[in-house]
Point group: C2
Chain length 190, copies 2
Amino acid sequence: MIPRMTTKEIILEVAGDLFMDKGFQATSTREIAMKAGITQPNLYHHFKTKEDIYIAVLEKLSLEVREELNHLVTSTENGSLVERLQGILDYLKEKHPVNFFIMSHDMTHEISSDNHQHLYKIWQEAYLAPIIRLFDEYLSEDFPLSSNDLARYYYATIAPFIQKESGFYKQITSEQIIYLFVYGILDREN
Amino acid sequence: MIPRMTTKEIILEVAGDLFMDKGFQATSTREIAMKAGITQPNLYHHFKTKEDIYIAVLEKLSLEVREELNHLVTSTENGSLVERLQGILDYLKEKHPVNFFIMSHDMTHEISSDNHQHLYKIWQEAYLAPIIRLFDEYLSEDFPLSSNDLARYYYATIAPFIQKESGFYKQITSEQIIYLFVYGILDREN
DNA sequence: GTCTATACCCAGATAGAC
DNA sequence: GTCTATCTGGGTATAGAC
């Protein structure tokens, strides 16, 4: 099957890989154009600015992540928390190995404030909301943290594992990360 | 007491704040010079390149962190693991609120390979080694992860909390982070 | 819709006077 | 040791021909 993609789609795909791996600043329009097989000024026929490319990339990514995470959460209702969290982790690593902290940094520091609100909102809906719903199923009333905070904590712990060639987690498997996250490193003293 | 610092010391202090907050790329030599109260070319009297400034900053930071973390670990031998981990977290946030993932990214992607090995080594000695020694005291023989991996996992979980104005962890306190890290979110099924 | 040519800016770094 | 002036290169973005 021949992939008959439009130039605009190719740009989004190439730019997505670069932005999510290296970040907004470190990705040049020249590099995007080169990898897309076009000239650099041609980008500006399809998008008004570099920031507009970034926004389109994040919108497309968020849409996909939102749908898949929602599907994963609802379709595994009978599974254990450990299994479900690991399923999410494996999906993200496999399909969208983004550099989470660069993404977070870009959204708050590299993007104009006009677009910031919009991006933050769709990011929340895609990444945070499904995890929050998941935790709501398991946590007792008196748990000291909100599901929102816990979802953020979850992403912090898995972030180095998800991103490409991080090397930060050396030998850790996704099973081990989730086990640590859920049960910690010591038994509670009851 | 009047702080009688040399120009070189001022440069290192100013550059350290900027590099550890915004990263290598996003920090310009013009900004360093301006905040240090000198002209930009004057930087090049004291350091050969921008990268050399970065290296000097990380060497100084690592020395300080290494000594303080080693001191914290050895001087609290009678404390609980939770107390000791929290002491380390509070020290890092208070004294060296670095952006951990930017630092890690810079060391591996922005610095020439000649200096990379050197930086990674002193970073390990300063940040990783003391935590590894600490975990060695507590973990049973059959624990599935190495203390090295666990130390890295520790830094991943605390990283968003340490850095300035992250906003990623919204309401979480240092106590809660450490509690989550040590005991997880659910009881083990024994 | 894609190209060549180029404007414009900001970065790191150097030359040389004082 | 610090300055002014400047070089060189890379970045984003625009003009205009085809």
